[in-house]
Subunit: 376 residues, 2 copies
């Protein structure tokens, strides 16, 4: 069958496609990678909200598991409505995969994204140690009365599809990207495998996409299915990539990953949060990566790198300087995971003229505290 269309409807169709296709609304950086930029409104600050350690999907076979996920959605909704950020970073431990007895943990990942997606806010994610982990069977399930009703398998007398091994990083990331036009996440270079969430995003004014305001670097700090570490290969990738796209260190760079590096142990206050650190809770010791393979030396020697942001420790929310570099914790956002400290989210605000990077913590009860200038 042949369909005849005049030129005008075809042009409208084509324009509609251009407008609606994923990421077509975000200006692309011309030339080599990175191709996709985050759009900054000229003359306005660019605001980022960090959602750390949401831990969706815990104990879905009990009442309290699903209830705390609802509470976590409320925290995120409050922060998004109070701050109206331009961008959200999911800073790892989005789900507690080792606590999810179903084959497809993306269900919970999607729940965690939903407050951001429903508000049309672009976002990106990095992996934490709980995102890609096999299910840990509770020992008590092996006593009487046995395994509670779960999604498989006894009812249909087949257990071949019941792996409960968690979704792997690669599949989680594919699902996020393919199902969400607002996702700016990327699955990173293949030679950095088994780490996945390694990529860079420029923030560029919509009227001048060739002059980024800042570069945001995301690194996978491992854990779950492999050791908690940023590899030598990842460090070398950062070194090469940053020199390639920002050779004169003119553009400021911010770094995001989940598990604190050993450098955090060095700057951690022994008690309270005395100056020059800024924060409100210092309730536990730093739980750092298993090894330091070079990334911190590279960051310390690069003048354009202003700050590193991590999650992982729910009882820490400080920023401390390490020479010219700020080492910052986010704030425990989710009701999932250990700890009962009040929930909130770290906010980062980047101003281009005059240049500044400010940060503060927005709490679930609307309070704001721990303002710090990371560009000083």
């Amino acid at each position: 069958m042949t369909v005849l269309l005049s030129a005008a409807p075809l042009a409208i169709l084509f324009l509609t496609f251009l407008l609606l296709r994923p990421q077509s609304i975000w200006p692309a950086t011309i030339g080599s990678d990175p191709q996709v930029s985050l759009p900054a409104r000229p003359g306005y600050p660019f605001k980022i909200a960090l959602f750390a350690d949401l831990h969706f999907g815990e104990n879905a076979w009990t009442d309290w598991g699903p209830r705390q996920d609802v509470s976590s959605v409320n925290v995120m909704s409050t922060v998004l409505d109070d701050e109206t950020p331009d961008f959200v970073v999911y800073l790892g431990d989005v789900i507690t995969a080792n606590n999810i007895p179903i084959a497809n943990a993306s269900l919970y990942w999607d729940q965690a994204l939903s407050p951001t997606i429903s508000r049309g806010i672009p976002f990106a994610s990095v992996f934490g140690n709980h995102d890609d982990a096999p299910f840990e069977w509770p020992l008590e399930w092996f006593s009487a009365p046995g395994i509670p009703p779960v999604h498989c398998p006894v009812a249909n007398s087949s257990f071949s599809d019941c792996s409960f091994r968690g979704i792997q990083r690669l599949q989680l990331m594919k699902n996020e990207i393919e199902q969400n036009a607002q996702s700016f996440s990327s699955k990173g270079p293949v030679d950095l495998w088994p780490s996945i969430s390694n990529y860079v995003l420029p923030i560029s004014p919509t009227n001048n996409s060739r002059s980024p305001v800042a570069y945001l670097y995301f690194l996978d700090s491992g854990g779950g299915s492999y050791p908690e570490v940023i590899s030598n290969a990842q460090s070398e990738w950062f070194k090469t990539r940053s020199l390639e796209i920002n050779p004169d260190s003119r553009v400021p760079e911010l770094i995001f990953w989940h598990i604190p590096s050993k450098a955090y142990e060095k700057v951690a206050p022994s008690s309270g949060v005395p100056k020059p650190c800024v924060g409100s809770i210092n309730k536990e010791t730093v739980a750092s990566q298993k090894a330091e393979t070079g990334i911190m030396d590279i960051l310390a020697n690069r003048t354009s790198v202003k700050a590193v942001f991590v999650g992982h420790n729910h009882g820490l929310d400080w920023c401390c300087p390490d020479n010219k570099l700020w080492l910052c914790y986010a704030r425990h956002t989710g009701y999932g995971g250990y700890g009962t400290w009040a929930r909130g989210a770290r906010i980062i605000e980047i101003n281009q003229h005059p240049f500044s990077i400010k940060s503060w913590i927005r709490m679930e009860n609307h309070d704001v505290h721990s303002q710090v200038d990371l560009s000083s």
Copy 2:
């Protein structure tokens, strides 16, 4: 094309099929389960060799990994040629799945079975804690010089098939059964999931399949992808099954699993192997299951249960009595896994008239030691 065959060759073909089809040479127990019996030659002892903790597949990216697998094949070959057993039990930790960076660990499982298969000896297996476990990435692979060449993925720039999560129990067992007519293993009742290797095999004289000499029970003691435990459900299954097929406890029963129960801790000698225990090495403490959910009480109260056989502790090879029940270790058979104690295999010999269960350990250097009468 039509092929015409006379009746005589067709009859020969049919008879050949009857003789060669899997398990057709083993008489089936008539009536309800268990359908398959191990054939005992009337008037001869029935001899079982236990191959414990072979740990195939360790560090395949080095020289010493494959070399020790060759050594393990040599141990098994020596034992099989010296003892010519009627049956072999692979008593768990056949592979070290957490050390195998390939998707299909059945390759190494098959290597471990090969000395038995090549001699045409029937066998069965139970799972150990190392058989179904995800790959544990060595931390040093994340420093320079990075990940050694493995079976995937960088060469073809695709890592979607590189899960390295180990084969699950179910798939391992399916592979073993489907690929080996000599395998008497079974994947067990679906309602005992996630444990898999739970089944019973009668040993029956070929001239009287209705009068078993003994029942061999195999239980999955967990570990790897779920806790190291024999569940309440497994205990109840044993209780029900044994009452059903051996209601008057007339037929002796032997029990095989991998990880010692807590009862082993109670009978373990503090040093050496003093009587009434029998054995040659007592070099470490018992590494027992994480909980005791009832199986030991059931076994202790059943007069037909004569002995339990486990592996797991490479430095222990004793049998100790626990009231009327013998708790026995096998002997570390493989060059894989920890420990450098000389390798060997526990042998069990069952005589019907007069009834006896004898056991000893056959070493790689042909020595025999630790003879014990388990029917006394």
